[in-house]
């Protein structure tokens, strides 16, 4: 499937940037703006007041235990609401700064809903060419799983995440941190990823590196030949030599890391981002935002 976001003029999709009460990740925000800019699209910012959190706070026995240990504390609805309000105010400022930097138009919505349902609704409103961006750091104990996102939200072509060690794609003076890397596991997804890669590489003014990931040598060789044919006329694309033949997620993640990418486009449900598996090896290894495509 093509990883695509509708342009603003098409009115068929946006980058949906979802905020919750969790501290936002500036790299994720920048990545969302970058993708919107690359596709000449817009960003819809979704501030989700998790209804479950509010409900939790309503119970008389509601207590909160600090993650770093220490005494428990009572929780109140007012406190939760105040916390959410503060978080969203902070997020707004960051969004405004990032949007101004990349000249992206932003729309805002505040909803009280289940986080997943909020995404579904937002994507369905504009769809089908949306891309979801998760504003908080992926890998922190957030309240959703990627499986759930891909299974539940049908009007999105991909999800953008940023791990705890992610660095900005580029400096304030638009110097890219590295190439756009396409981690290709099969040629079916390659064309779509390449199109998305072209957009993003153009926005970053960097090159594209194609890294082939296969389970066996023969498979790798075949993919190599096909990809080379497809890349014959591409001057800004480089095929990484010695593609990875292991089926191991960590090894693949390590191979990607060595490319020192500014942005990674990978296939969801493959070796690198397995369905039902943990993404920690990927997000922990990569210092760049990741776009996972269907």
């Amino acid at each position: 499937m093509t990883a695509h976001v509708a342009a603003a003029t098409e009115a068929r999709g946006r980058v949906i940037l979802r905020f919750s009460a969790w501290a936002p990740n500036d790299v994720a925000i920048q990545a969302a703006m970058l993708v919107a800019n690359a596709f000449q699209s817009e960003v819809e910012v979704l501030f989700v007041e998790d209804s479950q959190r509010v409900d939790f706070a309503s119970f008389p026995f509601a207590k909160e235990y600090p993650m770093r240990g220490g005494a428990q504390r009572a929780v109140s609805v007012q406190a939760v609401k105040a916390e959410l309000k503060s978080a969203f105010t902070n997020a707004r400022q960051r969004v405004a700064a990032a949007a101004a930097e990349l000249e992206v138009h932003v729309y805002e919505h505040v909803v009280r809903d289940d986080p997943m349902q909020a995404l579904v609704s937002a994507c369905a409103r504009r769809g089908p060419w949306n891309m979801i961006a998760i504003a908080e750091t992926f890998g922190s104990p957030s309240t959703f799983s990627l499986d759930e996102v891909f299974d539940t939200v049908s009007d999105a072509t991909g999800v953008i995440i940023a791990g705890p060690d992610a660095r900005a794609c580029m400096t304030p003076d638009r110097v890219p941190a590295g190439p756009v890397v396409l981690a290709v596991e099969d040629t079916i997804h390659f064309q779509g990823m390449l199109r998305a890669g072209r957009h993003i590489a153009a926005a970053l003014a960097s090159e594209i590196v194609v890294l082939l990931v296969a389970g066996a040598e023969q498979e790798l060789a075949q993919m190599d030949a096909e990809v080379r044919l497809l890349l014959a006329d591409e001057s800004n694309v480089r095929l990484a030599l010695n593609g990875i033949t292991y089926g191991d997620q960590s090894a693949a993640a390590e191979a990607v890391r060595r490319q020192r990418s500014a942005f990674l486009i990978a296939q969801y449900g493959g070796v690198i981002a397995p369905r039902g598996g943990s993404l920690r090896p990927l997000t922990g290894a990569l210092p760049c935002p990741i776009l996972l495509v269907r």
Partner: protein, 838 residues
């Protein structure tokens, strides 16, 4: 009553007894004085013949090396420098321009050619206490090498360390630690979450912690729904939640411990990874400085600190909105200041290790001791070891420090600081406000450096003696006085040496050579500067200035050499530049604004002479001195003193007059005299006793009614015995009166009386010598008042005969008679004739 007693004792055996009743005036015509020849021409100026010098010009002479005539001082300097003791510092005393500084420097420069041990000194960071920077002593010439080595080492690590920490191996090991930490915690929480799910309890993660709530179909139960449940069910849920919360608490209790463990392991990993390259980089520095144990020890501290702070070598995180702060120059990067080296003293190379000779021209506190500078940072003043600056004592350490004493004493705290350093034999940079107990911002306290040097102070004699008398430390620390004389004897040999000194000056200043006539004139001028025909001034500065000016005028006159004419011109021009006030003074006399007579004779009036000193120019000025006498109580009124226009020396001189009069003329009679003396038209104050003989002559004239020749001027002090004593400025005084007489036309009867003792000082202008030769002017020397009064009045002074009487017709007889008459009249008034005496 006194006079009654006298009457009772009045016996006929006393020759004056009959006179006490009615003293008779001496009507005898004055007896002419014997002839007193004036001074001969040869006695007025000593000139050396150019031909007698034995050379044609200074081109033939070997220039003098160093000074001449300063054997005492040079020997003292040699002793002081050679004496290996910190308290035998030197004070070179003498008049300004006597060449003290040049002589000392010249001597030291010859001495430092001998091998000596000198060191470089640097300050480095003290990693245990940054407020106490460490001092390192390095062999001569090694400081610059060490400093560069440290900078190069840091530059190398700036490249290698970041690369190592971005290396796959490090990243993998670090992730292993992080993942291990997270995995342990996450697994426990996931297990608890699963357990809770089985009990329909949801575990919610929040930004600030974890909570639990009842769940149904994967969603948190609405509070209103829960409230609608039976109480037993609700209680059951709450109990489950409570149990799970206890388990959760137990899991979370371990988090801080785990986190600490994670940090420790990360730290160990970082130190292990960083340690290798750091040690390797430092090994290069160690290898090059293996012979300096202090550096090896210091590098150990550096290594430890670098490993601990390896993160300094990574590029700084860019702050939002701030420009990229990545310095290319290591020495300007604030991150690495702690590893840099502050060179305080260094030699250019290891082969240029001579003992330093440092002359500090501005010896204020900071320039001497060094200073600690501060920079403003976010509203406060901060400093570190790199902001320390060396002083002259640092630069002179191991050698010699030359300082002008007066400038040193005028600089606040500087003298005390210098003494402190010499006494302690340690050099410590301190803020003066800290040293003196004033409050200060927090500063640094650097390690003291051992001090080994000799200090040479330069100053005049007055300053030296003031310090010796008033500062006990001075005598303890400056035990060697190098006393520079200002004159040498004018012997044949010294005249030759003087000529060589002139040659040396010519060479040093690259002037035209001086021919024999010019040298002869300069030698004569040397005596004039010394104010003594038997001496030559060796104030080299003044001599050098005169030669340079003569060279200039020689050039103006188109001469290839400096001749007598050029020297004469230089002298005239120099005087002309300075004598504006003399001209005004003379003009005042010529225009009779100031009354000075140069012809005729007057009773009780005489021309006195004084010297006006204006900077480095002095000139003589005549003043009219008058005396009035009458009967009184034996008091000589010094009008200058009464008007607070005279100093104590002048007062002393006037009192001596009284003693002379009383002793000579009133041994057995009361001195019933009231006399007043004044410097007419003098409003600026007088001091000194050089006019006391002049005043006495005026008094004698007034008492004897014998007029004094107004064509003569007089200078000289007198004692109670009537001896005329030496005074200063004889040349200027004679020249001053000569100029007045010359402006009115010399008559041949004009001249000056000077004390006989001053003849040896005469170095009059050639013009005066010519006038005397032509019989138009005279200079007399006198040894006694009697001799002087005879010249001034032309009347014999008179000596007591066997009967104790002064001969009639003599000055002394007339004076005595007048005084006796006063005494008799005073007695008759006292016995009841009414009017009180003053």
């Amino acid at each position: 009553m006194f006079f009654d007693r006298l009457k009772k004792n009045n016996n006929a055996s006393n020759g004056y007894a009959s006179q006490m009743n009615a003293p008779m005036p001496d009507d005898t015509p004055p007896k002419s004085a014997p002839n007193h020849a004036p001074l001969s021409v040869a006695e007025l100026r000593r000139s050396v013949s150019p031909a007698s010098l034995g050379f044609a010009s200074t081109a033939e002479l070997e220039p003098a090396v160093g000074l001449i005539g300063q054997e005492r001082a040079l020997k003292a300097i040699d002793f002081g420098v050679t004496m290996d003791s910190q308290d035998f510092n030197i004070f070179a005393l003498g008049p300004p321009a006597s060449g003290k500084s040049t002589a000392v420097r010249s001597y030291l420069e010859r001495k430092i050619s001998e091998p000596a041990t000198v060191y470089d000194w640097v300050y480095v960071n003290n990693f245990d206490d940054s407020n106490n920077p460490r001092a390192l002593q390095l062999p001569c010439g090694r400081a610059v090498i060490f400093e560069k080595a440290m900078v190069d080492m840091i530059d190398e690590l700036r490249q290698t360390l970041p690369a190592i920490f971005e290396d796959d191996e490090y990243q993998g090991r670090r992730r292993q630690i992080d993942d291990g930490f997270r995995a342990g915690q996450e697994e426990a929480l996931e297990a608890l979450t699963e357990k809770a799910r089985e009990q329909n309890i949801a575990i919610l993660r929040t930004p600030t912690g974890i909570g639990m709530a009842p769940m149904l179909d994967g969603k948190v139960v609405k509070p209103e729904v829960f409230a609608g449940l039976p109480e037993e069910m609700r209680k059951n849920v709450e109990n489950k939640i409570e149990g799970l919360q206890k388990e959760l608490a137990a899991i979370l209790e371990d988090v801080p411990k785990s986190e600490k463990e994670r940090r420790n392991r990360l730290q160990m990993l970082n130190e292990e990874v960083a340690g290798g390259p750091i040690s390797e980089a430092l090994d290069d520095v160690r290898k090059d400085h293996a012979d300096i144990p202090q550096i090896i020890e210091y590098l150990g501290f550096v290594e430890r600190d670098m490993v601990r702070n390896f993160a300094l070598f990574f590029a700084q995180e860019q702050e939002e909105g701030q420009p990229v702060q990545r310095s290319v120059d290591t020495t300007k990067d604030p991150r690495f200041r702690r590893y840099l080296v502050n060179i305080m003293v260094s030699q250019e190379s290891t082969s240029a290790c001579a003992q330093p000779i440092v002359e500090e021209l501005n010896p204020n506190y900071g320039n001497l001791i060094g200073r600690i500078e501060h920079v403003a940072h976010m509203g406060s003043l901060v400093t570190d070891f790199l902001l320390m600056k060396p002083g002259a004592l640092h630069r002179a350490n191991g050698g010699y420090l030359l300082v002008d004493a007066r400038k040193l004493l005028l600089s606040p705290f500087a003298w005390e600081a210098l003494k402190r350093a010499i006494k302690a034999q340690m050099l410590r940079i301190e803020q003066p406000e800290e040293t003196n107990g004033f409050a200060s911002t927090q500063s640094i306290d650097p390690e003291a450096i051992p001090l080994d040097l000799k200090v040479v102070l330069f100053g005049d004699r007055q300053l030296y003696y003031s310090l010796a008398a008033g500062d006990p430390d001075f005598n303890r620390l400056f035990k060697v006085q190098a006393d520079f004389d200002d004159t040498i004897s004018r012997t044949e040999d010294n005249q030759q040496s003087y000529a060589r000194l002139i040659a040396a000056i010519v060479k040093r200043h690259e002037l035209r050579h001086v021919d024999a006539t010019g040298v002869a004139r300069l030698i004569d001028e040397g005596s004039r500067l010394a104010d003594d025909r038997e001496k030559l001034s060796i104030e080299v500065g003044n001599l050098a200035d005169l030669i340079r000016e003569a060279d200039y005028w020689a050039g103006q006159m188109g001469e290839g050499m400096v001749t007598n004419d050029a020297v004469g011109r230089a002298i005239e021009e120099r005087i002309q530049r300075s004598d504006r006030l003399r001209d005004r003074s003379q003009e005042g006399i010529e225009r009779d604004l100031v009354l000075i007579e140069t012809e005729g004779a007057k009773v009780g009036q005489i021309n006195g002479l004084s010297v006006m000193q204006l900077g480095d120019f002095a000139f003589g000025k005549p003043s009219r001195i008058t005396a009035r006498v009458r009967m009184g109580k034996g008091r000589v009124t010094d009008i200058e003193r009464e008007a607070n226009l005279s100093g104590s020396l002048h007062t002393k001189g006037v009192m001596i007059l009284w003693g002379y009069l009383a002793g000579k003329f009133a041994e057995d009679i009361p001195l019933a005299l009231a006399a007043s003396l004044v410097f007419e038209q003098s409003y600026g104050g007088v001091d000194g006793d050089s006019a006391s003989s002049t005043e006495l002559y005026a008094l004698l004239s007034a008492l004897s009614d014998m007029p004094i020749r107004q064509g003569l001027a007089v200078t000289g002090s007198v004692n109670q015995m009537g001896d005329v004593q030496v005074i200063g400025g004889a040349n200027e005084k004679i020249e001053g009166f000569f100029d007045i007489c010359k402006s009115r036309g010399l008559t041949g009867d004009q001249g000056v009386l000077i004390p006989q003792g001053n003849v040896q000082h005469l170095m009059l202008r050639p013009e005066i010598v010519t006038a005397v030769t032509d019989g138009l002017f005279n200079v007399h020397s006198v040894a006694s008042i009697d001799q002087g009064i005879e010249i001034l009045t032309g009347v014999e002074a008179g000596q007591k005969d066997a009967s104790g009487q002064f001969p009639q017709g003599t000055i002394n007889r007339k004076v005595e008679d007048k005084l006796r008459a006063f005494a008799w009249r005073a007695g008759s008034f006292a016995s009841g004739n009414g009017v009180g005496l003053v």
